[in-house]
């Protein structure tokens, strides 16, 4: 059991609903690191004179566990903020708990499913991460203009992959491109070779993909080992080629394009300061999850300071429409959805000393997604 009792008026309590075991544990830890970098290191564990307390529990990848931890944090731990989760499925299970309780702000530090906003959107939900539209659709016109007017889509066959692929397809067809074929591979596929053959057979000039984690590594490594990188241009949502997988993908990823809201190598002063602070604290470069964690901390900081306390409704009001000084560049919570409005980077993988890295080739400013009927 965690420490019982409610947080006093002079403390801010944050509950981490994140995976600390299993495949996603690395993401969970990165988010926690990001949060703690801001609150513990830069603010000495205090927001506006209130001590920050944490509770954490492991969701694994199981939505039911996520829901029950959320319940416990809300009812028994009396947390002021919930930070998490990693997976959209877990987020779906958490949402009804948070919406009906209304006793804490939910800083959604990674789950991108746009449906969280579409169906019964709740004002307690603030996305410090992204939504699926933002990490897929905006790449469409860039590809159509600069790379190819026909693509084949490949994706991990689960909600997130399907959403990314559908949103991209819609946008790509809207800007005049054509989609030759779609190829879905089961989540967790370790050998993509026969899917790759299908991709090759499609004859498209470019591929747009959604894969993440170990799937992304397997897919990219095998894509290049079968020589497809010489026949077509690989593009994708930023998770395909993010900082945490890029090391493992290595030179196989060279020349590939992706779209994401945070790039550690981005040459801005704000980012440089963040990277330096993070690196000196944790001995490793930050990734997008760490940035999302960091921004969650910024949001908590802003909410408590502006509202002058941890009352939920005043904090909601102070966050809606507020801007954060995020390492990713421009960041604002859109008033109608509480989704971020932010800069998105189109990056290409290039060689760097001792490996490869993403280089920003173009930044799309203040990218705003649809509202999906949500009007808070």
């Amino acid at each position: 059991f965690g420490s019982a009792g409610s947080s006093g008026s002079d403390s801010v309590k944050i509950g981490f609903v994140l995976p600390f075991s299993g495949t996603y544990s690395f993401l969970g830890e990165s988010i926690v690191n990001g949060v703690k970098l801001r609150l513990d290191e830069q603010l000495d564990g205090e927001i506006d004179g209130r001590t920050v307390e944490y509770v954490r529990k492991d969701t694994g990848a199981d939505p039911a566990t996520g829901a029950s931890i959320t319940q416990e944090f809300l009812q028994s731990e009396n947390v002021d903020f919930i930070v998490g989760p990693v997976s959209s499925a877990v987020a779906g299970a958490m949402k009804p708990e948070i919406a009906s309780s209304g006793s804490a702000i939910w800083l959604n530090a990674n789950a991108g499913n746009f449906k969280l906003v579409q169906d019964n959107c709740t004002k307690y939900h603030f996305r410090t991460s992204f939504n699926t539209w933002q990490t897929s659709a905006p790449l469409a016109s860039y590809i159509n203009d600069n790379i190819a007017d026909n693509v084949v889509l490949s994706y991990a066959n689960y909600t997130f992959g399907q959403q990314s692929k559908n949103l991209f397809r819609e946008e790509f067809e809207k800007v005049g491109g054509s989609v030759v074929d779609e190829i879905g591979a089961p989540l967790g596929t370790s050998d993509y070779s026969s899917f790759l053959q299908e991709i090759e057979n499609s004859g498209a000039d470019a591929v747009f993909s959604f894969f993440a984690g170990s799937d992304a590594v397997n897919y990219i490594k095998q894509f290049s080992s079968f020589g497809l990188n010489e026949k077509m241009t690989q593009t994708g949502s930023g998770f395909l080629l993010s900082a945490d997988t890029l090391q493992a993908q290595g030179t196989a990823a060279l020349g590939m394009y992706s779209l994401l809201h945070y790039t550690p190598t981005k040459q801005t002063d704000r980012n440089q300061a963040f990277v330096d602070a993070y690196s000196s604290q944790y001995d490793t470069t930050p990734n997008v999850y760490a940035c999302q964690g960091y921004d969650s901390a910024l949001a908590a900081e802003l909410a408590v300071t502006e509202a002058g306390g941890t009352e939920t409704d005043p904090m909601v009001s102070s966050l809606a429409g507020a801007e954060l000084d995020s390492p990713r560049g421009y960041f604002k919570f859109k008033s109608s959805t509480h989704d971020p409005v932010m800069d998105m980077d189109i990056r290409q993988v290039v060689e760097a000393d001792g490996g490869v890295q993403n280089e920003v080739v173009e930044t799309l400013t203040q990218v705003e997604g649809p509202t999906w009927g949500c009007n808070l």
Binding site: S21, G22, T23, Y24, S25, F26, L27, E29, N157, I183, G184, A185, P186, G188, S190, D191, S193, S194, F195, Q197, E198, N201, G213, S214, D215, A216, V217, N218, K221, Q222, S225, F226, G227, D244, T245, Q247, A248, Q249, G250
Partner: protein, 290 residues
């Protein structure tokens, strides 16, 4: 599909199947001999990859990893057998499920603790980079190497099992190890040897596949059920079954996405169910209790 397409897919199937053999052989040998349902086998495979990763990082030499990592896994497998499975002989083999499940969980946590949860990969040795032109199509050299090693190991083991009485001792021990002992064979030593051999093979598969695939703590869970399915399809304890089963599943993996793209993840289980409904003890197994 064009002829070169079919040929290439078939080669892919053979390659995927033969590579799986490295994992399934250990599993089936261990089961066949000791009735041990080894849930930790996937973890040994995973350790092969991580040990390989570390050896490559330290020495910078992939070939050293190929040699050293499997031996380390073998050593660890031997320790596991010696310290925890050995005291359980003679007990209901169902308890091995609990034991090896415990190891699988523990090793998963341990690997995450030591190497971290992020996805890694063993860099392909420069000697094996690139592709080979096979007239109809070109094929990655590393994968051909993988295929070659798997075939060589499979064949060597097959010959060794035929030449020696190993296979017979194994099957006899599964049924009545006390009697095998009383007839003059040191069953415990053979058991340990089998476990070590199975571990070495799993470790070898770990290094090889850790080079062509992602290395992460989830790799154990993702291979173990597939490996079980193969072993069951072939018939528990049957070496031939493990090879044929892996081959069939390799083909299924290769041709599945072409012919049944919507159902690729169900195919393995459909196959397993179909085989067991027709042959309740797998393709080459002998029914339990018969």
């Amino acid at each position: 599909m064009a002829i070169e397409g079919i040929a290439k897919t078939a080669l892919l199937g053979v390659e995927m199947g033969m590579t799986l053999v490295l994992v399934t052989v250990g599993l089936t040998l261990i089961f066949g001999m000791m009735d041990v349902i080894n849930f930790a086998h996937g973890s040994l495979y995973m350790l092969g990859a991580y040990f390989g990763l570390t050896v490559v990082t330290v020495t910078g030499n992939w070939w050293a990893a190929l040699l050293v990592a499997p031996l380390l896994v073998g050593l660890l497998g031997g320790l596991i057998e010696y310290l925890s499975i050995r005291p359980l002989y003679g007990r209901n083999p169902l308890y091995h499920i609990l034991l090896t499940f415990g190891f699988a969980i523990m090793l998963h946590g341990l690997v995450t603790e030591i190497w971290g949860g992020q996805v890694q990969n063993i860099a392909t040795p420069s000697l094996l980079e690139g592709s080979v032109d096979l007239v109809l199509f070109s094929y990655p050299l590393f994968r051909l190497f993988l295929l070659g090693v798997s075939i060589a190991v499979t064949a060597a083991l097959w010959v060794a099992m035929r030449r020696s009485d190993f296979g017979i001792v194994m099957r006899a021990s599964a049924h009545d190890s006390e009697m095998v002992d009383a007839l003059g064979t040191d069953v415990k030593r053979v058991f340990t040897a089998v476990f070590v051999l199975g571990s070495i093979l799993a470790g070898l598969a770990g290094v090889l596949l850790g080079t062509s695939r992602a290395v992460d703590p989830g790799m154990a869970a993702s291979i173990i059920i597939q490996a079980f399915a193969i072993v069951v399809i072939g018939g528990l304890g049957s070496y031939r079954g493990a090879v044929v089963g892996a081959f069939v599943v390799g083909m299924l993996n290769a041709f599945g996405p072409t012919f049944a793209p919507q159902f690729t993840d169900a195919l393995l289980y459909l196959l397993m169910a179909a085989v067991l409904l027709v042959k309740p003890a797998g393709l080459f197994g002998t029914p339990e209790g018969a």
